[in-house]
């Protein structure tokens, strides 16, 4: 392995190849920051460009994009409450309040640092786990996936400030997830005959509506720039270093975020949204002194940002072990590999070790470089929060709708974004949490599909699900997640 590592590093160091990496990073940051675009889109768009390249160069370019996308997305999440990519949605929860308090620099500094280090940690875990990659993937069958979805949903709902409304939002999210063609039961559900809805609602326009558009309409109502306290030059300047320091001051948050991100990333089909929200919820629930989560606790930025970069390392495991893409970007990345004559599948790791290490190094490089770039630019980026909201609002709404359209070249996505923009505005005003809606939506398909498959597997006897060790472990974790608020409540009672 060490040999291949040196070969890969040497190749990466050559002039033109560094240029490809930087190009990938630049594209990744740009695409990541604009809602509606994202890593998968960037890779798909640059795919034709790679036709004339060496396979290794294409991989370096793709690695550059993948490593930089979520850092780009964190900037919009923090400054505008608009997740640039779906996994950045969790960063909005505490990142945006920090901006409103004039601490955008802190948030951006923390996000960039946590992203980079989270990515590095996950790549380390990846390399260590490669020998057992196959076994890990084989641990998760339909019963385990179902229980994982339940765990994700419970732990997040339980974290909401108003449990009842959190659950109601979750139900709404589940129903939105039911829209479309169900390919197990063979029925079209809740589409009202609209052909566009046959594929269901896409998460990106949903997020754009619920977060970006809803927030802009709320800003229209409240007025003023996003940062409402008058802040001078000095606060921004010290903001970024303070943000960087906060990451090192909270190692537990950082490591738990990276660990959860890597683990969830390993499980194909679950994705970055769950990884970032789960790590956020874990930190929010288990930290001491956690009353400030949701109103500007920097740990609420560190955890999800570490997670959403860490998931890339994790997502490589099923991708390399079996050719199952662990994320949307990986799916297209596999296409790039095939295009260049590299066969994804169990033999990839054995036959093409140097190539894989090249990808790992490219991801590493991209994570670090994009982090540095954002840190350097943080001061200027933070200024965006000072722009008069009356200029910001129409701009963000416009770009959001264009982004929503660009996803699938369908006007339907624009309607979805607008509709959920109104729903989101309604939810803000009526005080129903949007987070649980999103998580329930994301998990609804996973939960249902795997539950029904488990029922088919076990011929209706669902108790047999617990015969699977992984499922049992996840079930116990779910019970634990449910008990945490209960324990805290009891402790409060006892203290009183």
């Amino acid at each position: 392995m060490l040999d291949s590592l040196f070969t890969a590093a040497a190749y990466l160091g050559e002039g033109a190849n560094i240029a490809y990496l930087l190009l990938g990073v630049a594209v990744g940051i740009l695409f990541g920051s604009i809602p509606g675009l994202g890593g998968a889109t960037a890779i798909a768009l640059l795919l034709p460009l790679t036709f004339g390249m060496q396979p290794e160069q294409a991989i370096i370019l793709m690695g550059g994009i993948m490593g930089a996308v979520s850092i780009g997305g964190s900037v919009s999440a923090i400054l505008l409450n608009t997740p640039g990519t779906a996994p950045n949605a969790a960063t909005c929860i505490d990142g945006y309040p920090l901006t409103r308090q004039g601490k955008a620099g802190v948030a951006i500094g923390a996000a960039a640092t946590a992203s980079s280090i989270g990515g590095i940690i996950s790549l380390g875990i990846l390399v260590a786990m490669l020998p057992v990659a196959k076994s890990i993937v084989l641990l998760f069958g339909p019963p385990a996936f179902f229980m994982l979805a339940v765990l994700g949903l419970t732990s997040l709902t339980v974290a909401s400030s108003n449990l009842l409304r959190g659950l109601i939002s979750a139900c709404v999210g589940l129903f939105i997830g039911f829209i479309g063609y169900d390919d197990i039961g063979g029925t079209e559900r809740y589409t009202g005959g609209i052909e566009f809805l046959w594929d269901g609602v896409s998460i990106v326009p949903l997020l754009i509506g619920l977060f970006a558009i809803a927030e802009m309409m709320n800003l229209y109502r409240t007025g003023g720039p996003i940062t409402d306290r008058a802040t001078g030059e000095s606060v921004e300047v010290v903001g970024t270093p303070e943000g960087i320091r906060s990451v090192f001051a909270n190692p537990r948050t950082l490591f738990s975020g990276a660990a959860i991100g890597t683990t969830i990333g390993m499980i194909p089909g679950v994705g970055g949204v769950v990884a970032s929200f789960l790590s956020y919820s874990f930190v929010a629930q288990t930290s001491r002194d956690n009353q400030h989560f949701g109103s500007g606790d920097v740990r609420g930025v560190i955890a999800p940002e570490a997670a959403n970069n860490a998931k890339d390392g994790g997502a490589l495991i099923p991708t390399l072990a079996f050719g199952i893409p662990g994320s949307a970007e990986m799916a297209i990345f596999l296409g790039v590999l095939i295009l260049h004559g590299i066969d994804p599948g169990p033999m990839l790791l054995i036959e093409r070790e140097a190539t894989i290490l090249m990808l790992v190094l490219a991801l590493l490089g991209a994570t670090i470089i994009s982090g540095l770039l954002i840190l350097i630019g943080a001061r200027y980026l933070a200024r965006i929060a000072h722009i008069d909201s009356m200029v910001l609002i129409p701009s963000v709404i416009t770009v959001s709708l264009v982004g929503a359209y660009s996803l699938h070249n369908t006007i339907g996505d624009v309607f979805v974004a607008v509709f959920f923009g109104l729903v989101g505005y309604f939810m803000i005003r009526a005080d129903y949490p949007r987070i649980t809606l999103i998580i329930a939506f994301v998990l609804s398909g996973l939960m249902e599909r795997n539950f029904i498959q488990s029922m088919i597997m076990f011929e209706g006897n669902w108790l047999r699900m617990f015969g699977d060790v992984t499922t049992l472990v996840l079930f116990v974790l779910t019970l634990l997640a449910l008990s945490i608020p209960l324990v805290r409540y009891l402790r409060k009672m006892r203290a009183a």
């Binding site: 390919d183 046959w198 297209i332 599948g345 599909r449 088919i456």
Partner: protein
């Protein structure tokens, strides 16, 4: 003086406008060698379908003429039906073509769903690929033959969801193996081929069917073992065909990718397209690229492609009663 200057400017502008307009005009009805043709890909970018079409497009373009352009356009949605409908309803002037998956686009009609296109009437240009299916068991399985499968007390098949070609193929195979009495479980609903292949390795089920090229990496690594292959001749070393094992009706199982235009394309244009297609498909450079991409090139000309479509309908019609949703409960 000013007016003369303006007059010159106006003339230039007029000329430029006329040139632009003429370039935008419809192609001469007799020829496509300068046309821009849209090749509709009814799926999202990045998938196997998409790659095959994009690899082929430039070759088709160069065979049509030096100024011809073939632009792939992704029109995903409704399981491919949106793209198919777009091609079906386009103007039959040869400038809109689409890549179709058989039997994927045949099945909705057989299964009784409303479709807005009629595959049998499309103007078929040619077949690009033909992928045989392999009958697979886990590498560690004790099953060595179809007879062994029939001995199992409870058999579970893995596949993607209802409406997909693989589930249909699985149901037909189960019928052919006369497993109806054993009441097999069809564990469908996996998100994609790789997902149920890994499920097979994991032990979620006993048997699965998948295109040979997708299964090949797993066969090479020993994680999966093929028991039989469809087609007239086996493409896997040492693996018999269904026909050789006594199930000739399963020989036609498989996936084909063909190119077609909307119904009613003028015969001269159609001839042009078909000729260009065959030349491109048999171009050694394209064939080398295809081999690299693991495409199973099996070019057929327009008439043969159309015949294959008709044969598909007949084949799946015959098994219609076996293709009901096994999990509708």
């Amino acid at each position: 003086m000013c007016s003369r200057f303006l007059a010159v400017r106006c003339r230039h502008l007029l000329v430029a406008l006329l040139v632009a307009l003429s370039a935008c005009g419809p192609p001469d009805s007799g020829s496509l060698d300068q046309a821009t043709i849209t090749l509709v890909i009814p799926y999202h970018p990045g998938g196997g379908f998409d790659r095959a079409a994009r690899a082929f497009a430039p070759f088709l373009a160069s065979e049509l003429g030096p100024d011809a352009n073939v632009l792939p356009e992704n029109v995903p949605g409704a399981g491919g039906r949106r793209g198919a409908t777009k091609v079906f309803k386009a103007r039959p002037d040869g400038t809109t073509l689409g890549v179709f998956n058989l039997p994927g686009f045949v099945l909705p009609e057989i299964l009784g769903e409303k479709v807005d296109y009629d595959l049998r009437n499309m103007s078929w240009i040619g077949q690009l690929e033909s992928q045989p299916y392999a009958l697979l068991v886990p590498g560690t399985s004790e099953l060595r033959s179809i007879a062994d499968i029939r001995q199992l007390e409870q058999i579970t098949f893995l596949s993607t969801g209802y409406g997909a070609s693989v589930l249909a193929a699985t149901q037909i195979a189960a019928e052919s193996f006369r497993l109806a009495d054993e009441d097999p479980i069809f564990l469908s609903g996996y998100a994609g081929t790789a997902d149920y292949l890994v499920g097979l390795i994991r032990g979620d089920g006993h048997v699965g069917i998948a295109p040979v090229s997708t299964a090949a990496p797993y066969i090479d690594s020993g994680d999966l073992r093929p028991l039989a292959v469809s087609g007239a001749i086996s493409t896997l070393e040492g693996v018999p065909t269904f026909a050789e094992l006594g199930y000739p009706e399963l020989a036609d199982l498989g996936v084909r990718r063909s190119i077609a235009g909307p119904p009613g394309i003028d015969s001269q244009l159609l001839g042009q397209l078909r000729d260009a297609f065959m030349r491109a498909a048999t171009n050694p450079e394209f064939q080398a690229m295809a081999a690299n991409m693991r495409l199973e090139l099996s070019p057929l000309d327009g008439d043969e492609a159309a015949a294959a479509v008709a044969a598909s309908f007949t084949f799946y019609e015959a098994f219609r009663t076996n293709l009901r949703n096994p999990n509708a409960l």
